[in-house]
Symmetry: C2
Subunit: 339 residues, 2 copies
């Protein structure tokens, strides 16, 4: 753990890069990646093929990086954080494989979704395999408390997905109800990822709850910014890879706000687009116009900033080190993506 | 229900008064007040004495006004909303009587607390009596759904109070944990108060959840602003009736933020003040200085504004009427109190 002291007085200075985090965790992440590679191995050849298709597709690995950074920050000196980080990434990957089946997605991170290449059945089952491996790795670490946190997160994530099924295409969803979904679907894993480091480093309960709160609120901010980015974020110019949520009829916060704030004509548009799936490129253009007219994107970003602020305060009790700077950079990075 | 259409385009215009609300509910509130008076009656003379001491002490009756306004807004035409409003106020009064005993408070709304005049036992038991009357009134209305919502709120409020006992004087409380407490302790009753109107007016589920969300987020904003006001709000001038939370050693959000953001010396100050009860007027002055130095008051108000914004959007699906204006005025009134 580095002892460099960083000046935190200027809370408005946004360093919008996660380079510092990547530097600090680089060595341990090499070990995480090697472990991931070895744990996707199986005599059943399809398993490593399907798993590595997604694992190699260039995700940022933000969740395992947070596990590593939190453990380092708490002075942890064993190997357990590497194993837990890999298991967090497996849980995330399993969720993505299952999500693509549930959402009938064709693409994931700009590549064909695994289900398009190997079918739905393989995606579901390889997801289950990864989840199983994730649990085995957690058990290897031998911390019942960490196991408790991660297995609880696994249940909550599944609950969130089921909740989302029941609220799917329901434009009358309130912001509170939507928050409940993403609290389970996204924030729970971020919270667990941040919490297990201090747990295996045998930190006091107050440190653990600080990291948990950091992860939880980072997860909320992260998901809301993702929601905003799917419509191009605050920029009115047309970006790449936008409109996935729109085409899948997902009711995310920008849509919740624009629908609630809209007049009858606008609400009819959203009904046609989301429920009746009139969601071609023209409809997407119009959706973006309505979102901006109702400040739905900029207010989604503002809401995200609130959770990022909460996450920042959750870390306030930790000493000012490079690691703390890195974790706070993640918040700024996360929110600034939307501009 | 009035059909006047109000222009909502200018979302930044803050009307900081609740006069419109008071006008709209004035007639029904007279009936609520008469009912409250009649239902505190008992052959046991001490009961009306204790109950009316608090009931007559000039609370704004915000919660029952919200019940009445929500029911009117949904076109409800019976008498049930008057009864439910009285029962909401009784639940609130019972909580205050019990709170004063738990917190060992001497004053309530500038008058001697009931427990100082009649003792702790009477305060506890009259609180129980009012809670009993509240349930009897709910039953009178005959709506099982409304009963379900209000009885659930009663349990949640009690849970929140117990939760607060266990987090009392714990300066390491995270913002998330504190939110959990006020979500139960304060927001649950506001949510129920807003929800029962549309319920007895047989509104669709989406309308009911919109009102519930309005009440819940108004409750959070209301409590956070109360917390800020207890230290004088954003004004640096010395106001009246400040410092109650400080002297009772309550860990509210301003303290959570100032403690987490403070340096070692500041944290020692908070330990001395909150845990070791070194909380004289000099200490209060210093507390206020530290709160402002760490932006803890202004950020508490910012956090409250976030919840007020959520509450506003929760009502967006309702037609633009005077009643809607009145309920949104309540949000602006609530947040603007802090300045």
């Amino acid at each position: 753990m580095s002892g460099v002291v960083v000046n935190f007085e200027n809370r408005n200075q946004a360093d919008t890069s996660i380079e510092l985090l990547m530097q600090l965790v680089a060595d341990d992440m090499q070990r995480v990646n090697a472990l991931i590679l070895s744990k996707t191995g199986s005599d059943v050849q399809m398993i490593p093929e399907v798993a590595n298709h997604l694992i190699d597709s260039g995700g940022k690995r933000l969740r395992p990086m947070i596990t590593i950074a939190a453990a380092q920050m708490c002075g942890y000196e064993g190997d357990g954080h590497v194993t837990l980080a890999a298991s967090v990434e497996f849980m995330h990957t399993a969720t993505l494989l299952h999500d693509d089946v549930v959402d009938e997605s064709d693409l994931r991170r700009g590549k064909l979704a695994a289900r398009m290449l190997w079918g739905n059945e393989a995606s579901v089952l390889v997801g289950d395999f990864l989840l199983g491996q994730a649990f085995r790795m957690m058990v290897d670490v031998g911390s019942l408390d960490a196991l408790n946190v991660l297995s609880h997160a696994a249940t909550v994530i599944a609950e969130g997905e089921v909740m989302q099924l029941t609220t799917a295409k329901n434009l009358e969803t309130t912001e509170d109800e939507y928050l409940e979904v993403i609290r389970s679907k996204t924030a729970a894993l971020f919270a667990a990822a941040a919490e297990v480091g201090p747990i295996i480093a045998a930190q006091p309960a107050t440190t653990i709850s600080g990291f948990r709160s950091y992860g939880n609120n980072l997860g909320l901010a992260f998901q809301l910014i993702d929601d905003a980015l799917d419509y191009g974020g605050n920029s009115k110019k047309l970006g790449k890879n936008i409109g996935d949520d729109f085409r899948e009829g997902k009711v995310t916060l920008p849509v919740v706000l624009a629908y609630r704030r809209g007049d009858d004509k606008e609400r009819q548009f959203w009904q046609d687009a989301i429920v009746s799936e009139k969601n071609d490129d023209n409809a997407l253009d119009q959706a973006r116009e309505l979102l901006h007219r109702r400040d739905a994107i900029s207010d989604t970003v503002l809401r995200a900033r609130h959770y990022a602020d909460m996450a920042r305060d959750a870390l306030d009790r930790m000493p000012n080190t490079e690691h703390k700077t890195a974790l706070i950079d993640v918040l700024d990075f996360c929110v600034s993506r939307a501009n």
